[in-house]
Symmetry: C2
Subunit: 223 residues, 2 copies
DNA sequence: TGTGCATATATTGTATACAATGTAAAGATA
DNA sequence: TATCTTTACATTGTATACAATATATGCACA
């Protein structure tokens, strides 16, 4: 049996973060991870570094890797960047969307709903993010898709930290209306809907300054 | 004397690529690099991986790292992405620009001209790219700056491959007018100037389909 | 008790040895 | 000579041993 690659470990761990199975602040010791996946630390270190590049992990010298805890500023930046990239991408996608794409998107939405119905919030969150990536894929913009992937992963971290009400999850029929616009190849509508959708998510975050940073006082004083 | 870190090697090699001292297609053998910098391959591999993440290097399994050769499609994508990110960023920067920022930008432009006068095209190119990064820094958009850095490095590769006339370099007083707009905190002007500036660079590229891909026939048939 | 110091342990950082793979050279056969 | 096969070499991939650093533990002393 072939051993698992660094890239596969990266994917699995990234999905765990995306689904909030690994929460911001969680430590990932190299030994631990290497034992779980049955490979040497060499491979694990590659995977951890990959994730650090995507902004999912923060690696501190001699102190190891832990799931990143985006600051308020970073949280804002992530959504500002998405606001720049995604609406135009949605427009470009609309102009290229094929029936096959629509079918795939609809299957995707179904999955999301199923996950929600079964109370698998983390999974639903991941699928919701992948929906956005799927649109960049349709737009055939590989470079932007690459950036967007990082932004969406980080969005998941932002949501983990700053989501207003965990109980009431957004009833997301926005994705449906977006697919509708795409199926009509209506670029204007797609762009506007995406803009609104992002603003909607953004508004559901609690991005006010807060005192409770005392938790991370230790970290704050470390240097 | 302290040994050089992977990050420092990353920077030095990245600058070499940015300045076209290392050209697209150039191979970087681990042994060679490790000897040059006096460190083990372990460190070199980290650096090479870093650069691969930024899109500067392409690493093929068991075949090593070489400076990336962006395809026509990637070339287009890079400038499309820049067109989405940079104008808005210039606007944001204009609204926050301080006299100290202006001074730094002007020093920057002087350096560019000096490099041009001395015929150091590569250096001038790098400085020109850094000018754009400086604007993202002023805008205080760390996330976008991070993406932009990758895009600008890749732009350098695109220019190396697709620049129309190497002899006639763009007489760049656009940077000057941009600084002027920034100094007046004129966001609208800054945004428009940046849009035009990017279009101008884009128009100086020869991004038509070409036959001479036969050079890479070998690579094409490899799988 | 509580604080400071010294020691022990845990964890990451780096170099190196060996394995796996790819590339080039030499030889065999037609 | 041309092509295929085999062999040798060069290069990258992975695991592991050891060094460096950070964290935790125990002890002395006030």
């Amino acid at each position: 049996m072939k051993p698992i690659t660094a890239e596969e470990i990266t994917t699995q761990l990234s999905e765990a973060v995306h689904e909030h199975r690994l929460k911001p602040g969680a430590k990932l010791r190299e030994d631990e991870v290497s034992e779980v996946f049955g490979v040497s630390r060499t491979i694990v270190r590659q995977a951890l570094r990959n994730m650090a590049f995507d902004g999912l992990l923060t690696i501190e010298k001699n102190r190891g890797a832990s799931v990143s805890k985006p600051t308020l500023k970073e949280a804002h930046e992530v959504f500002q960047a998405r606001a720049l990239l995604e609406p135009s991408t949605a427009r470009a996608a609309a102009e290229r969307t094929t029936p096959a794409d629509i079918a795939r998107l609809q299957r995707h939405i179904e999955e999301e709903h199923r996950a929600l119905d079964q109370g698998q919030l983390g999974l639903a969150l991941k699928l919701s993010g992948n929906f956005h990536l799927e649109i960049a894929r349709i737009a055939d913009q590989h470079t932007i898709e690459h950036f967007l992937k990082q932004l969406i992963y980080r969005s998941s971290l932002v949501i983990a930290l700053y989501w207003k009400r965990r109980d009431a999850l957004c009833e997301n029929n926005t994705h449906n209306t977006l697919v509708e616009a795409l199926s009509k190849n209506d670029g204007n509508a797609a762009e506007d809907l995406m803009t609104g959708h992002l603003l909607n998510i953004y508004s559901q975050l609690d991005l006010r300054e807060r005192e409770e940073e005392s938790i991370s006082l230790r970290d704050a004083l470390r240097q």
